[in-house]
Symmetry: C2
Subunit: 456 residues, 2 copies
C-alpha cells in the first residue's frame, strides 16, 4: 500500500471542517475577523511574551489539502462531494495583523487578528492557537527564568523533557529570544543559529574506572571547552579531582571552563567549591548549576549570593511547570461588516477588530485597546502590524538575533513591579471610549432583541 | 543557498555528541546498558501508563547523521575529523527490551533498557527520554480522565492547547489507547484510525443573524451528526432553540445527536437541559459537556449524578495540567560486563540490567524488580520483552486498537485504591534478593575504594 500524504491542513479540530461545510452550503462567505487573546493571567504572571507568529504564518501560508487529505475526509461519509472539491482548492487569501514576536502582551489584548472569508479565517484556528499558545507560554516562562538569573547565563537544558521534539525546538528558539545564552538541543541550535551548550552526564563518569579518569579523558578531548560534572559520587571530592585536572590542563596551556553542580545544597556547595577553586588559584573556572531549577530557586540562589556563574534549566522551563497553559480565545469579532460579541458567562468577548496602543517612552505606562478604525492615538505606539496581505507575508521573517535584541530592550522598559516572580502588580490596560461605546451598544441590542441575534 | 537537510539524529543534547567523541578518542567501546525509569510519582498518582515506545523505536531505527548534520558539527570547531567520519557511519546496532505500551508502570521500574556499544546507547538518550516521558505523561493523565468519567465517553479536545502539533498527535494516540472515544484532531484521527469528533464553535453561532439560524444551517448540513452548542447567549434559551431544531429534524426522519454545554454551572444546567429535552420527548438527545474540565471536575459531576453523557476535555488533559512532567532518569546500569551505580544524593540508582515481574492474576498484587539474568520467577509475569535486536525491531508494531483493548483489561486489574484521583495508595514494588545483594556489594565496594570507582 502506498503511503498516504496527509498534510498539516488536517491539523484542525474536526468542527473547523464541519462548520466550513455548513458555511459553504449556506452561502456564508462574508469576510470575518477573528481576534486571538488570552483572557486571564496564569499564577504569578502579569505579562506574557508574545511568540509563535512565525509558526502560525508558515501554517497559514502553506495551507492546502492534499488529495489524500480529501480522500480521508470523503471516507468519513459526512462531507458533500462539492464541498470537498472546494476544499481541494482552498487557500488562505486573507490578511493578518499581529504583534511582533517578543512583544509583551497583556490580558484581553489581541496579539493577532485574522481577516478573510469566514471559512478560511475559521479553519486556521486550531493551528494558529496551538502555535501561539505554545510558544508564548514557553517564551514567558523563559523570560522569568532569565530575569531571575539577574545577568548570569541561563541555558535551555529541557530537550528531554518538553512535550515532544517540536516543543523542544520551539522552546530553544523562544528561550533564546527571551535571553537564554544557548541550548543543549543540537538540532534546534543548528536550525536557529543558537549556541549549543553541554557538559557531561553521570553515565560518562560511571563508565570509567575512576572519576578522575573520566575527567581526564573529557578534558583531553575538549581541552578548552570542558565543564566537569562533580557530583556523581561526592561533590567536594569531585571538585578536588577537577582541580587536579584543571592544573594539568593549565600546564598544557589550556583552561578548564567550569564545574557543574547537579545535586545537594547548591548554595553551600557552590560556596565551598568556589573556595576550593580560588585556593587552588583557579579563579577563572566557573560554577554552573543544574538540577530541577526554576525561576524561584534561581532567584533564591542569586539573592543568597551563591557564587554561581550560570544555570542549566530543564524540566520546569521546558513544560512551564508552575503554569503549563494559558487561557487563550480565538473569537469572531466582526462578520460581514458588523461587529460580533459573545456573552457566555465568564467568557464575554470584546466586539470589533482592534488595535493595541502602548503608552510610555523610557518606561511602559499603560496600554489602550481601541477599535482598529479609530484615528491613531498620539504619543502611543500601535502594536498590531500587518504581517500578511492576501495570503502572502508582507515582509521576510526578522532574524532571531534581532528579535532577541529587541526583546531585551522592550523587557527593560516594563517596570519591575510587573515582573516580580511572585504576585506581580497588574499592568493597566484601558479601553478606548469608542471600544466601550461599541460594547455597550451591542449588549443593549442583544438585550432588546431575541437572544441569539447579532448587530447586523 | 540550498536548503540544508538536518536530521532528527541531531535531536540530542549537545553532551551526547561531545561525550561520544571522548568515548571514541579514548577507546571506550564496551557494551553498555541504560535503564529508563521514573524516580517518583507526580502528585495524586500511584501508577503511570507506559507509552512512547513506538516513537522511541522509530527514532532509534532511523538514526543516521546526514552530511549536513556532520557539516554543522564540523562548523562548531570542536569535533575531530576522524570522529565525524565515524559519526557519518553510525547506526544503532544494539538491543532494546521494553514494557508494552499501555502497561502500568511504577516508580523505579525500568520501562525500557537499551543495550549496545556505549556511544550508541548514550546518543539516543535525549530522543528516547523525550518520547517516553511525553507519551507516558499524557497517557497517564488520559487514563485518569477516562476513569473519572466512569463509563461516559471522553473525547480529546486538546489540539489547540497541547505544546505543539506533535504533542497533539501523541496525545490523540495515547488518550485513545487509554480509553478515550475519539479526538477532535483530524490529522491524528486520520493517521491513527481514531474516530474524529466535533461539535461547533461559538463563532459559528455568532456569524448568523440569530442562534436558531445557525442551528438550522448546521443541522441541515449534518442531519444525523449534529451536536448544538447552546451557551453562546444563554444556555436555557439556547436549549429551547435546539429543541425546536430537534423537532424539525425528527419531522424529516433524522435525529439531533446532542447538546453541548460549555460554561456556567454544568450540574445545574445539565439537569435543567435534560428536563427540557425529556419534556419535549427528546430522550435520545444526549448532553455533552466541555469547558476547562479535568478528572476532578468530571468526577464531581459524575458523583453528583449530572445527566451528562460525554465529556470533551481540552487544555487540562492536553498539558497534564496538574502534573505536567515526570521525574525520569536514563541511567547507565552496566558497562563492559560490570554493574554500575550512581550515588548522587537523592538520585541513587539501582545497578545492573533488570527485569520487572508482576504478581497477581485477577488483580495485581505486587511487582518485583529483579536482575535480568536471574532465573524467571514462578507465577509472575515478566514485563520487559525484547523489542529490538541488532538495531532492528523484532516484530511489527501492535495495532492501536489492540493496545487499547489490552490496556482496558490491564487497567481493570489494578485495584481501585491505587487509582483514586486523590492520594491513591502506593502499589508495592519489591526488590529481588539478588538485586538488593548486588546494590549492597557495590555500595560497600565504593566505600572501600577511592571515590569514583566502579566495580570492574
Amino acid at each position: 500500500m502506498a503511503e498516504r500524504t496527509l498534510s498539516r491542513a488536517l491539523f484542525a479540530d474536526f468542527y473547523e471542517l464541519t462548520m466550513a461545510q455548513a458555511y459553504w452550503q449556506h452561502d456564508r462567505r462574508g469576510t470575518a475577523t477573528f481576534s486571538l487573546f488570552f483572557r486571564s493571567y496564569s499564577p504569578d504572571r502579569a505579562y506574557a511574551v508574545f511568540a509563535g507568529l512565525e509558526s502560525a504564518l508558515a501554517y497559514v501560508e502553506e495551507l492546502r489539502f492534499t488529495s489524500d487529505d480529501v480522500d480521508y475526509l470523503r471516507s468519513l461519509d459526512m462531507f458533500d462531494a462539492d464541498f470537498l472539491s472546494f476544499l481541494s482548492g482552498l487557500r488562505f487569501t486573507g490578511d493578518i495583523r499581529a504583534m511582533t514576536e517578543g512583544d509583551l502582551a497583556f490580558a484581553d489584548e489581541p496579539v493577532i487578528e485574522v481577516t478573510g472569508p469566514i471559512i478560511e479565517a475559521q479553519i486556521v484556528e486550531t493551528a494558529v492557537m496551538n502555535a501561539i499558545s505554545t510558544e508564548t507560554l514557553l517564551a514567558t516562562k523563559a523570560s522569568r527564568v532569565v530575569h531571575a538569573a539577574a545577568g548570569r547565563a541561563v541555558v535551555d537544558f529541557a530537550a528531554r523533557r518538553t512535550h515532544g521534539e517540536e516543543a523542544a525546538d520551539k522552546l530553544a528558539r523562544v528561550s533564546y529570544l527571551a535571553g537564554c545564552a544557548g541550548t543543549s538541543n543540537v538540532l534546534a541550535a543548528a536550525r536557529h543559529g543558537i549556541p549549543p551548550v553541554g557538559t557531561m552526564a553521570h553515565s560518562f563518569i560511571s563508565s570509567f574506572p575512576a572519576e578522575i579518569d573520566a575527567f581526564r579523558a573529557y578534558a583531553d578531548s575538549f581541552p578548552d571547552a570542558t565543564t566537569l560534572l562533580v557530583d556523581t559520587y561526592d561533590t567536594l571530592a569531585g571538585t578536588r579531582h577537577a582541580i587536579e585536572v584543571a592544573k594539568e590542563l593549565r600546564a598544557k596551556g589550556h583552561a578548564l571552563r567550569a564545574l557543574r553542580l547537579d545535586s545537594g545544597d547548591l548554595l553551600a556547595l557552590s560556596v565551598e567549591c568556589r573556595r576550593l577553586l580560588d585556593e587552588a588559584g583557579l579563579q577563572e573556572v566557573e560554577l554552573f548549576a543544574t538540577g530541577g531549577l526554576d525561576e524561584f530557586e534561581i532567584d533564591a540562589l542569586v539573592r543568597s549570593g551563591a557564587p554561581i556563574d550560570g544555570f542549566g534549566v530543564g524540566t520546569k522551563l521546558g513544560v512551564s511547570a508552575d503554569a503549563p497553559w494559558m487561557d487563550w480565545a480565538y473569537k469572531l469579532v466582526e462578520h460581514a461588516g458588523a461587529p460580533v460579541l459573545k456573552l457566555s458567562p465568564g467568557k464575554e468577548t470584546l466586539a470589533g477588530p482592534k488595535q493595541v496602543y502602548r503608552v510610555g517612552a523610557a518606561e511602559y505606562e499603560h496600554d489602550v485597546i481601541a477599535l482598529a478604525d479609530e484615528p491613531p492615538f498620539e504619543d502611543a505606539r500601535p502594536l498590531l502590524r500587518e504581517v500578511m496581505r492576501g495570503g502572502k507575508r508582507v515582509e521576510a521573517a526578522p532574524s532571531l538575533a534581532s528579535l532577541r535584541e529587541r526583546f531585551a530592550a522592550e523587557f527593560a522598559r516594563l517596570p519591575e513591579r510587573h515582573k516580580a516572580l511572585r504576585a506581580p502588580e497588574r499592568y493597566t490596560v484601558e479601553h478606548s471610549l469608542e471600544l466601550d461605546a461599541l460594547q455597550w451598544r451591542l449588549t443593549q441590542w442583544v438585550a432588546q432583541h431575541e437572544l441569539g441575534g447579532s448587530a447586523s
